[in-house]
Assembly symmetry: C2
Homo-oligomer: 132 residues x 2
DNA sequence: GGGCATAGGTCTACAAACTGGACCGTGAAG
DNA sequence: CTTCACGGTCCAGTTTGTAGACCTATGCCC
C-alpha cells in the first residue's frame, strides 16, 4: 500500500517515531485531552477539593472532572485523599511527578502568552483572506 | 456552506481563575485537541502532503486531518500550498511560528519519554490497588 | 421531628464530536 | 474500458461529553 509507482516523494518516508505503540503518543493522548492540563495547572498553587476545582475551572462538567482526576491519579500525577467525614471531604494535590510535568507545561504556557498576538493576527488575516 | 462573519465562537461564559480573557485557555484548547500536536510533530522533519500525513499518523480520519490542518493554518502555525495540477497536490509545512511552538512541545515529549516508566508503574500500582 | 443544606460523586437522558466509507473530477496506467 | 490516485467534502452511525437529577449521611435551624 505504501509503494506507489508514481509517487514522487523524494522526502523521507514515514517516520516510525509516532507509530502506534509509542510512549509519546500514549502520554500525549493523556495530556492532550483538553482538561488534564487545565486541572494540573489549577492544582499548581496547592491542594484543592473537588468542587473547588470545579468552580475554578468553571466550564468542566462534574463527570469530566471526576474522570480526569481519576486518570491523573491513575497516572501518578495527582494524589487523592478522602477524609471519611460526613460532609465528605476529598483533597487533590500534585505528586512530585505531576510537578515535574508542570515544568515543560509552563514552557508551553509561556509560549502561549508570548505568541498570542501572533496567533490572533494570523486568525484575522485568515478570516480576511477567506472572506473574499 | 454559510458562515456568518459575526459568528461568535463557542467559548463558554465567565470563569474565575483560568478565565476567558486568558490566552492560556485559548491556546491550550487548540493544542490540546489530540491531533494538533501530532500533526505539528509529524511536520517537523519537513513538508508533507495530505495523504502522506494521513499515512504517517495512520489513525486519524480524513475529516479530522482536514479540520486540524485548517485550524493550524488559521492560527498561522502551518502553511498550505496547493498546486493546480491534475492529480491535485497540496503541501503543508510549518511556519516559523509553528517551529517556535515545537520547542516547548519538544520539552513535553522529552518529559513523556523520560517519565514513561514512572507513569506505567503508577498505572500498574493503581490497578493492583483497585482490583482487590 | 422535619426540612434543608452540604460534599463528592454516580446515573441518565440528550447533544455534540468523531469515524469510516461513499463520492467528486480528472488524467494516467494497465 | 476499468482502475487507481490526488485532496477533499458529505452523510450516517457510533462514540464522547454535557446538564441535571439523584444518592448518602450528618448537622443546623425551627
Amino acid at each position: 500500500m505504501n509503494d506507489s509507482p508514481l509517487l514522487p516523494d523524494t522526502l523521507a518516508p514515514a517516520s516510525p517515531a509516532l507509530a502506534q505503540p509509542c510512549p509519546i503518543r500514549d502520554i500525549l493522548d493523556r495530556i492532550g485531552d483538553q482538561w488534564s492540563l487545565l486541572v494540573l495547572l489549577t492544582l499548581r498553587p496547592g491542594t484543592r477539593r473537588f468542587n473547588q476545582l470545579r468552580r475554578e475551572i468553571d466550564d468542566i462538567s462534574k463527570q469530566m472532572l471526576s474522570r480526569t482526576l481519576k486518570q491523573l491519579e491513575q497516572d501518578g500525577l495527582v494524589s487523592r485523599t478522602a477524609y471519611p467525614e460526613v460532609p465528605p471531604r476529598v483533597e487533590y494535590q500534585l505528586t512530585e511527578l505531576g510537578h515535574s510535568l508542570l515544568t515543560p507545561v509552563a514552557a508551553l504556557v509561556a509560549w502561549a502568552e508570548r505568541h498570542q498576538p501572533a496567533v490572533n493576527a494570523a486568525r484575522e488575516r485568515y478570516q480576511r483572506a477567506t472572506e473574499r
